[in-house]
């Protein structure tokens, strides 16, 4: 790695829940201007990773630097898109209101959002194609529309680094394409985007970096180097079926093991020696 500043630097991050490890000793170095997927089996700690980085869950050890400063000092630089289910969409509020919440951090205490915030919110809604819905009750939105609202809220935060938790979960194809385009625009603008992703199939197509996680960091780096069958097997414990390797589809995540001789006796050295 060259000497340029890292956008995200995670060291020794460990999170335990009731003294069971959920994340062990995670080291992560993410350069700026990268669109990175975080993948791993269920329960691998992907959401926990994001939440631990953002300080939403307590970590047992480790630290997080954003552009070389501790996260706590850099909140303004970080945008967050939580999972859609984390919120009750029956709440009495409209789309514009939710998006403006993204500016609350900039407003600080007590200060109410005003015209400036409104304008910014409308611009963000424009970018996600939801401008005509500004007045709409959030309970009347479809899944894809809800996701776009969350994205707009993050955009309005005007951050340098974005963390998104399963933004493609349960959205229609059009919305999915729109979100990918948006993420790629962000990357083109030099932002760093970390996305917890559930669909292995689309990783090479959408992302340029990937981190494979299963309680420990299996591998992290550019997709071409790191998204290998071997690493996938390490991450998913030998229960991955490979469909086609040459261009196009990536391995799909299934419970059937088509590789009966998959070895799970890898030594630790192998795991930790994976490309950094």
């Amino acid at each position: 790695m060259n000497e340029e500043m890292k956008a995200i630097e995670v060291t020794d991050l460990t999170v335990a829940y009731r003294d069971q490890p959920v994340l062990w000793d995670i080291d992560l170095d993410v350069p700026p201007g990268v669109l990175m997927a975080v993948v791993g089996p269920n329960g691998a700690g992907k959401t926990t990773l994001i939440k631990a980085i953002l300080g939403l869950v307590r970590s047992a050890a480790g630290q997080v630097l954003i552009y070389d400063k501790p996260y706590a000092e850099q909140r303004r630089m970080v945008g967050y898109v939580p999972q859609r289910e984390s919120v009750d969409w029956d709440f009495p509020t409209n789309v514009l209101d939710v998006v403006m919440m993204g500016r609350y951090g900039h407003l600080g205490w007590v200060q109410r959002p005003g015209r400036h915030e409104r304008t910014l919110a409308m611009e963000a809604l424009d970018k996600v194609g939801m401008r005509p819905f500004a007045d709409r009750q959030i309970s009347q939105l479809s899944g894809g529309q809800q996701q776009r609202v969350f994205l707009a809220r993050a955009l309005v935060q005007d951050a340098q680094v974005y963390f998104m938790d399963e933004p493609f979960q349960g959205v229609d194809a059009t919305t999915e394409r729109a979100i990918v385009t948006l993420l790629q625009e962000l990357r083109a603008a030099g932002k760093t985007v970390v996305v917890v992703h559930h669909d292995l199939q689309t990783v090479p197509e959408y992302f340029d970096w990937v981190t494979l996680l299963n309680v420990r960091r299996i591998a992290s780096g550019p997709v071409d180097e790191v998204f290998t069958d071997e690493n996938l097997r390490l991450a998913y414990g030998g229960r991955v079926a490979f469909l086609s390797r040459n261009g196009g589809s990536a391995p799909c995540n299934s419970e059937d093991s088509l590789e009966p001789n998959a070895s799970s006796q890898e030594t630790t050295d192998e795991r930790t020696r994976i490309v950094q």
Partner: protein, 369 residues
């Protein structure tokens, strides 16, 4: 002890067990507050039936009150089904309204009769021995005892007969439906039982104690065991204990018997909350402390293993580094290191630490699990 005293305690014990039985299932099904709703709403049933029959001891009152209990549950469900109101809000809307109608009817039209507002909340357990159950000229004891005894038998019978269905419907409603047991039927049967019990107990102990006895002993039992039969048995025992101790507390303070029993039910819960093996606060705290200790040592091993053979190895292996990266206080870090040394996991050479083979084994095992 005099006979009335014995009788009062007996009645109280019977009430306690009769409440604990359906209470177990309410707690497990997350419907504990239905007991609150039902025990308040049945007042309306009692009052309406009283106006019709003008007879305070008519069995019609029991029927009407039980019906009101079931109606309450249906109303809550109805409200919830309109999708305009959430379930917990629905409960909070229905029972205060019904209860208020009941209270107003009493105040306005029955002020001078036996029904009196304090009794509604508290019951008149002290007076229970005075209404006797007389058969063929033989005084068999306080009427309340027989009424509650009957209800207790009913509850026991129901649970014995439908144990499988109740267990299934409570723990896995989907499976129950798939197997052909109607969870809705079980639900309403259970609610009817709760109503009957609340009605029977109402006269003696009032609505508040019914709620306390239906929730606190089962909740305490829930923290003491994983097995349903034991949970039922323990709830009954704790209920009885609350009844007896509550009675004596009330005598000592010359205060409300029902209120004292509710208080003692709470005290027993508090004791279990703190002292339960495994699930009590103290047990949890001790386990956490112990695990944090072991956990820290394992973390240390993994940390060392992780960086073994890497360029930062030298850096990471330094004792001072632990304090930085693991966010351990220097004291704690020192203790962990010494503990790990003693367990044979690591070797410390001056300021540098290194893993032993055993340590590597520990680390690997932790990772795989």
């Amino acid at each position: 002890m005099s006979q009335p005293q014995i009788e009062i305690q007996l009645i109280a014990a019977v009430v306690a067990v009769a409440c604990a039985l359906p209470g177990v299932f309410l707690v497990l099904r997350r419907m504990a507050l239905m007991s609150d709703a039902i025990s308040h709403a049945i007042l309306l049933g009692i009052v309406l039936a009283f106006f019709l029959t003008k007879d305070i001891s008519s069995p019609f009152l029991v029927i009407a009150a039980t019906l009101t209990g079931v109606v309450t549950v249906s109303l809550v469900e109805l409200l919830h089904r309109t999708r305009l109101v959430r379930e917990d809000a629905a409960i909070g809307l229905v029972f205060p309204a019904l209860f208020s109608i009941g209270v107003i009817l009493i105040s306005r039209f029955a002020g001078d009769v036996h029904l009196d507002i304090d009794a509604v909340l508290l019951g008149e357990l002290a007076f229970a021995p005075f209404t006797r159950f007389v058969v063929l000229g033989n005084d068999l004891g306080p009427r309340t005892l027989y009424v509650m005894g009957g209800i207790l038998l009913l509850n026991i019978l129901f649970i014995l007969l439908f144990y499988k269905e109740l267990k299934l419907a409570t723990l896995d409603a989907g499976l129950a439906a798939a197997l052909g047991f109607s969870p809705a039927l079980i639900h309403y049967a259970l609610m009817t039982l709760v109503s009957v019990t609340a009605v029977g107990a109402f006269d003696a102990v009032g609505s508040i104690l019914v709620v306390a006895l239906m929730i606190a002993p089962p909740a305490a039992a829930y923290l003491l065991t994983d097995r349903l039969p034991r949970m039922i048995g323990l709830s009954a025992l704790i209920g009885i204990a609350s009844a007896f101790s509550g009675y004596w507390l009330a005598r000592a303070l010359d205060a409300s018997i029902a209120g004292s029993m509710a208080t003692m039910a709470g005290v027993f819960f508090a004791l279990v909350f703190l002292l339960a093996p495994e699930r009590g606060l103290i047990a949890i705290a001790r386990r956490r402390a112990h695990q944090r200790w072991e956990f820290a040592q394992t973390m240390l091993a993994i940390h060392l293993l992780n960086h073994e053979g890497t360029p930062e190895e030298e850096e990471e292996y330094r004792l001072e580094h632990l304090h930085d990266h693991m966010r351990w206080e220097p004291d704690f870090a020192g203790q962990v290191v010494r503990g790990a040394e003693r367990s044979g996991i690591i070797l410390s050479q001056g300021k540098y630490l290194s893993l032993t083979d055993q340590g590597r084994e520990v680390a690997r095992r932790a990772i795989v699990s």
